[in-house]
Assembly symmetry: C2
Amino acid sequence: MTDVAKLANVSQMTVSRVMRNSGYVSESVINRVVSAATEIGYVNNRLAGGLAGADSSLVGVVLPTLQNRVFSEVLSGVTTAFSESNVQPVFGVSEYSQRVETQLVLDLLAWRPKGLILSGLEHSKELRDTLLASSVRVVEVMDIDGRPIESSFGFSHRKAGWEMAQHLLGKGYKRFAYVGCQPNRDLRAVKRYKSFCNTVHRAGAQMVVTKYSDEPSSMLIGRQCTEAILREKHKPDVIYYANDDLAAGGLMHCLAHQIQVPKQIALAGFNGLGFLESLPMQITTSRTPRFEIGTAAAEFVSGDPKELVEPVKVDFAVDLVAGDTT
Amino acid sequence: MTDVAKLANVSQMTVSRVMRNSGYVSESVINRVVSAATEIGYVNNRLAGGLAGADSSLVGVVLPTLQNRVFSEVLSGVTTAFSESNVQPVFGVSEYSQRVETQLVLDLLAWRPKGLILSGLEHSKELRDTLLASSVRVVEVMDIDGRPIESSFGFSHRKAGWEMAQHLLGKGYKRFAYVGCQPNRDLRAVKRYKSFCNTVHRAGAQMVVTKYSDEPSSMLIGRQCTEAILREKHKPDVIYYANDDLAAGGLMHCLAHQIQVPKQIALAGFNGLGFLESLPMQITTSRTPRFEIGTAAAEFVSGDPKELVEPVKVDFAVDLVAGDTT
DNA sequence: CTGTTAGCGCCTTCAT
DNA sequence: ATGAAGGCGCTAACAG
């Protein structure tokens, strides 16, 4: 920067002002500085900038996985929102481990980010305490059923589970099954499940079978679990899946074996992923606004850090989409 | 750090040594420093660390999109590799625009990353020149057909297109169709396409129809394009799709309309995405090692920056998987 | 509108 | 095995 200043015949401070276009700088000086900068190929050093007091304009993002479209869509929303500003996301994947998540956040904090985007409301005590003590803006996405560290942008999984149960009960189904994956990891799915079961039971209907896979969720697992369930003695008349991938796998099994949907078995998923539209049948599901939650969270954390913002809890409503499978 | 030093009754420099466990520090001092640090909740400041000369341990990653599983899997590989080290990825999405990509890289460079991961070999001249002049390690992923800036980790799309054409010609197909999306964006698909066409023509067979959509690729688009192609007068006997999403959409169309695959129409995709396994039929495709390319690239760029590494071009072979659709 | 001064928190180098 | 001095490149705060 000093070099640029010399070349442009101004003080280094003026160069700094031009670079951030802050304060008053005359037109002519701006031009001189800019051309000097391009001439020597000056590249701003944000490490120094951040250190000197300006906000670092980094935002930490920690998601449980990228193998699941849900989270890559959240991330997509985040990056889209940041592309407008000059904020950069620093990224980490926790693999659904609170220990890893805690470590990642600690590492990210070393970059003095202006904000942090986490997912879910369940974290290690250490993480909670650290973040409560720190001054970075924190937003937890994809869930609002619980006590956020600061702000949460998401929706109620309990409500989503209740709503789907209501829908299915309304359709007259009596014998329910559930298929999920890794219940010790996907805590949000468990919230939906519990609420779903409660609603089913209160209506006097019953859960015939609940099947959990230890594998990460995928269409293939959905297919296999569905096959297993339909082989059992006491068949359900509807299967509620933890997500659309599983449900689509179930549909694939039915298609491949000429099982009539929803006559012989009804199917319902969760998330409303885009690929459902092109399946031979529209699967009943709950549409979650993943991309929008990502953009909203990104905009929230990257706001002016000086202005104190009240923590908020934003409920992005989930949208039950009745398809042909129920 | 000075505070920690006071509490532990050592110099700040010693604290620095302990934090990085570099140099010789006695056992007892280490313990004192560590407990002092935890006591006051010390968080290392990497901005200062980076400024003072240590490498920043950030790696910039710029991908064209996150809407496509292919790239979220690459990113997944990258983050997995970094989870071992203490390197953090800073992330950007170019939306397939060279202008945006250039700007993103310029922004990322301001963080003094130790490396940069880009995708594809086609970039703006400005980007090329900037990166050639800079000292950051650059690796371009997912393509090796061309002249990399420095190193490239990927595979040959020309070879993949040739190989699929060979496979289909070998199966006796004579009338070929192609379905793709946004050819001005997905340059790598175009490479496959050209090579595919050449091979088909050289064998004396013909391309009956080529259909491009302006929309981003999806199963739905694949379904619609397939429907359009099968309505045409001169029907092909096989369709080569730019990727698996399109091909799966094509299969869905056939399933929904009782069109016999591969008897009435054969289908082939590209990438070998995981979800193909659970479709009612195995689609013929070329399996690309996206995750592995991500991890390899990440490990390469995050190596010790002091040791000069020769640029490399690594060919991750593509694996043609013959399914039931050809 | 432009310049001066004083760090930000850490690491490199050189001493001891 | 530990400490002291100096500076990385930038920006806040204050002058003018």
